[in-house]
């Protein structure tokens, strides 16, 4: 699906806007050092506008909304990055009481600066940076000109950058430029050049230095211990609170582009522990010789951590021979991200300390990382039109959330009830974990589908659910309207 409008108006528009900004900007002396015309010539090849229709569902309600983003083509075969915060939706914890706010792109359109329009599909969004990935479809054989991020850049306070920003839809031309500079080189919790002069709406725009090298994209830094899912350092935009803005570097982007996240198909590595930072104080208290590391708090059954022989209380201080510089909880996401990015199936060597009484043993443990457990938002669902409820499979995070043992409690969780529907009237509640329906064991949504099919076939007038709720079980009788 390709539409060409062969116009060169965007070139003129770019230049016009740049000139206006130059005239108005108090930072004229610096801004004039950017060769915007040259930048425009390069950038228009890979800068695109992304129009997305998103279905947003909460409970049994759903609405459709349209979003516009500035995107950047990052591969010859049409991979596009954009601000994917609205579509990331990968909180490791289920939403309150089983409710899930789900965002599903229903139609995506990519428009190039020379007005070619393509359809595209959503690939996934990175949990840490919130960068979304699209793939242009319907352009078989076509080679796109991608941005090539500069790596090995050094960043210093005072470095100037420029970027393209998307204008509101009623304004033409659709893009404009902005400039900003590095205000601080953050070294902890991790390296992150902070910028001033930019704003959140410009997230994921490509940052160009004074030599017009694309050194990264604009990202955000939040305190991971205060974020909702403690997902990582470079997250923001979909979160409550205002992030500090800065540079997601070319090195990091190259890694992501080489192996972009696929929604519903986790490829990231997973160890299967909960953890805390080894602070200097705790290290001193235990008289350890190591300055930092992570303390293993809990080990998931049948996880790579268990297979490695890790024990609760062990202190991991090296991965693959590299020192772990985790000395405060804020830095934990660095470890989590490292494990995640190593990917499933990767063999990893840990060096850990085990304290037994007054003695300390250093252990070298080997394991192969496993695929990260499925997120609640990706779990299979089933909607019963007959009884007007929706359920999804239980996922690993449910067990963490409810503090349950996966061996002891099996079933599916009720995520949605139609207001005034038969399930709601009968007393089923969101968050209930259905264990049995009509005495038949429920282990997955497939079981529910089968049983509800039988209910319809047999034209049953009532269905008895046995559910777990608030740490107790009870029976719920739902009346059908089949008789």
């Amino acid at each position: 699906m390709k539409k060409t409008a062969g116009s060169k108006k965007s070139l003129i528009l770019f230049s016009t806007v740049a000139v206006i900004l130059l005239a108005l900007m108090p930072l004229r002396a610096t801004a004039q050092e950017f060769d915007f015309q040259k930048l425009q010539q390069a950038a228009e090849k890979y800068t695109v506008i992304v129009n997305i229709k998103i279905e947003v569902s909460f409970g049994m309600h759903s609405t459709e909304q349209e979003e516009r983003y500035l995107g950047t083509i990052v591969s010859e075969d049409g991979l596009v990055i954009f601000n994917g915060a609205a579509l990331a939706g990968e909180s490791p914890m289920p939403s309150f009481a089983g409710y899930s706010l789900k965002t599903t792109p229903t139609r995506i359109e990519v428009v190039t600066m020379d007005d070619r329009t393509y359809e595209a599909e959503f690939i996934g969004a990175d949990r840490f940076t919130r960068i979304g990935f699209l793939k242009i479809t319907g352009a078989e054989g076509e080679k796109f000109e991608p941005v090539r991020f500069a790596t090995g850049q050094s960043f210093e306070v005072g470095n100037w950058f420029t970027l393209y920003m998307l204008m509101p839809e009623f304004i033409s031309p659709p893009v404009s430029v902005d400039i900003g500079m590095i205000s601080n080189i953050v070294t902890s919790p991790e390296f992150f050049p902070l910028t001033v002069g930019f704003n959140q709406l410009q997230a994921t725009s490509v940052l160009y230095n004074i030599d017009l090298a694309p050194v990264g994209v604009l990202g955000g830094l939040m305190n991971p211990t205060e974020s909702m899912d403690q997902g990582g350092l470079l997250e923001s935009f979909g979160q409550i609170g205002i992030p500090l803005l800065g540079v997601i570097t070319g090195e990091r982007l190259e890694k992501l582009i080489a192996d972009p996240p696929h929604k519903g198909k986790p490829t990231s590595g997973w160890l299967g522990i909960t953890l805390q930072a080894l602070t200097h104080e705790i290290g001193q208290f235990w008289e350890l010789d190591i300055p930092s590391g992570i303390i293993v708090n809990d080990i998931v059954k049948n996880s790579p951590a268990e297979r490695a022989g890790l024990e609760v209380g062990d202190i991991i201080f090296e991965i693959n021979g590299q020192q772990l510089e985790i000395d405060k909880d804020e830095r934990i996401p660095i470890f989590q991200r490292e494990i995640s990015e190593l990917g499933q199936g990767t063999a990893v060597e840990f060096t850990a300390l085990r304290r037994t009484g007054q003695t300390q043993d250093t252990l070298t443990l080997l394991t192969t990382l496993q695929e990260a457990p499925m997120a609640a938002t990706d779990a299979p669902e089933f909607e019963s039109e007959l009884l007007e409820f929706k359920v999804r499979d239980l996922v690993f995070s449910d067990y963490l959330f409810y503090n349950l043992d996966s061996e002891q409690l099996k079933g599916v969780v009720v995520t949605e009830l139609k207001p005034g529907g038969l399930a709601e009237i009968g007393g089923l509640m969101i968050g209930d974990i259905i264990q049995l329906i009509d005495e038949r064991t429920v282990l997955s949504t497939k079981n529910v589908e089968t049983i509800m099919g039988d209910v319809e076939t047999l034209r049953q007038d009532e269905v008895i659910f046995f559910v777990w709720r608030d740490n107790k079980t009870l029976f719920v009788n739902l009346k059908t309207d089949l008789l």
Partner: protein
């Protein structure tokens, strides 16, 4: 005075809000009272009956001002609350609500002749929300009046009643209304402000007599001048929806409290639900049997191999039935009233066959453990009872439960959180509160500057270092800055 009373009311509202909203959605239960004045329409005979009832009970009415302790902020906080009560024994015993005086440290009472006397707590029972206090009459020069208890089993809907007490601290107030219903059922998941679940063993008398905060613990009186209930709750944002604990429940509770300081109950770990909607499914006869919906882990019922879905037909050969929820409290009481340790015989319908089970009862025990403030460490804990263990899904009762952490204190800075369970102090196992207090006192006495707590949070083990050195440094800094 009015001001402090309003504060009491607010405390109660907020504390109850969550639990009751969860259970009843709309119904927000508050402290007691009753009465819609209908004086202009009542006949002269009724007027004289009201006077008569007033004269028989008012002299025994007590305005109660307890000072209660609260540890939820991590440190001992005291509050003065206001409630009502009635003298029911010539030795000066006064019945009131547990949520008024059940956790009182100091109690001041104002009698109907406006004389103030101190009182002491005899004991309380959160499950029926009843407490008994004893007036110290050593310096009292008047004569004490005693109200007579009636029979709550013989009351009728529509019957005139008087509510007496101190609504909004306005002592010696009477309101008039009728009994709206005599068997109101509330889910036993409703919690008192102090956190205990209440109402498992009783129904409520509902009345339209005006009820306001401060009426709690006051008598609901029939026109013969006999106390038929103890006013306990009212509904917020409604007109004249008040609830009293039936006096026959109160008689048993007060008797036990005077004898033992508490109400001792048997426990086998059953939770049941009404059979009404489920009789067909389980092949049960109408009005025969009580459906088991859930069984507490590690309980006598579990050890006896009872299971959810079993229908109890008889308890010690006595037929039982709970077709409606209103019948559940009587069934629970039938078991609770056995002597702990007694073996009970249950006839159970399972798969439409009758079976006999013998279950050895155990003592129900306290719902909540004793509190302890760790002043030097900046948090408060409580002992873990078996009921807390079940409710919080803990593996056993070892350790102590953190009820509150003082903001910006040593423990807060170390990362201790409410609901953590402390299992070790500096490597020493904590079996229970006594152990913990021993460890605490020892560490404080030895002026140990660093204390490592091993805590359970959810399923994870976490290490929390209390850096008491830092606290002293901070205090010194503060002192220096004051100079």
């Amino acid at each position: 005075m009015l001001c402090s009373n309003r504060r009491t009311a607010l405390v109660f509202k907020v504390s109850n809000m969550k639990a009751i909203f969860m259970t009843f959605r709309v119904l927000i239960v508050l402290l007691v009272g009753c009465g819609v004045a209908a004086a202009s329409v009542v006949e002269p005979t009724i007027q004289s009956d009201i006077y008569n009832a007033r004269d028989r009970v008012m002299p025994a009415l007590v305005h109660i001002q307890p000072v209660i302790k609260n540890y939820n902020t991590g440190e001992l906080e005291k509050q003065t609350v206001v409630g009502s009560g009635v003298v029911f024994h010539p030795d000066g015993y006064v019945v009131t609500n547990y949520h008024v005086a059940g956790r009182a440290e100091r109690i001041i009472c104002t009698l109907s002749d406006k004389e103030q006397v101190p009182a002491s707590l005899v004991g309380g029972d959160p499950l029926t929300d009843i407490a008994v206090i004893k007036l110290d009459l050593s310096d009292y020069r008047g004569s004490i009046s005693v109200a007579e208890f009636g029979d709550s089993d013989s009351i009728g809907v529509g019957q005139y009643v008087l509510a007496m007490g101190s609504p909004l601290s306005l002592s010696r107030s009477i309101s008039v209304g009728v009994i709206s219903t005599r068997d109101r059922y509330f889910s036993p998941d409703v919690r008192l402000p102090s956190g205990e679940r209440t109402g498992r063993y009783n129904l409520w008398i509902q009345t339209d007599a005006a009820i306001n905060p401060g009426n709690s613990g006051g008598p609901l009186v029939d026109l013969d001048g006999r106390v038929i209930g103890i006013n306990s709750r009212a509904t917020l944002y409604a007109n004249n929806l008040g609830f009293a604990i039936p006096i026959n429940i109160v008689k048993k509770a007060t008797g036990d409290i005077i004898a033992e300081g508490k109400v001792t109950r048997s426990w086998i770990g059953l939770h049941c639900q009404a059979l009404q909607e489920l009789e067909n499914h389980f092949g049960a006869h109408r009005n025969a049997g009580v459906l088991i919906s859930s069984i507490d882990p590690g309980s006598p019922a579990e050890h006896a191999f009872l299971k959810a879905g079993d229908i109890i037909l008889k308890v010690n050969e006595q037929p039982v039935s709970a077709r409606f929820v209103e019948e559940l409290p009587a069934f629970y009481s039938l078991i609770a009233d056995r002597n702990p340790g007694d073996e009970i015989s249950l006839t159970v319908l399972r798969n439409e066959q009758a079976y006999n089970f013998k279950v050895a009862t155990r003592t129900l025990g306290d719902l909540q453990g004793e509190d302890f403030e760790c002043k030097d460490w900046g948090f408060a804990v409580k002992a873990i009872t078996r009921q807390m263990q079940i409710e919080n899904q803990l593996s056993d009762t070892s350790g102590v439960y953190v009820v509150g952490v003082k903001r910006i204190g040593t423990a807060d800075e170390g990362g201790l959180r409410r609901a953590d369970v402390i299992l070790k102090v500096n490597g020493n196992d904590i079996a229970g509160l006594v152990d913990f207090i021993g460890q605490y006192n020892e560490q404080v006495q030895l002026e140990i500057d660093k204390v490592l707590l091993t805590v359970k949070r959810g399923g994870s083990t976490r290490f929390v270092l209390l850096n008491l050195d830092a606290r002293e440094d901070k205090q010194t800094d503060e002192e220096d800055s004051r100079q």
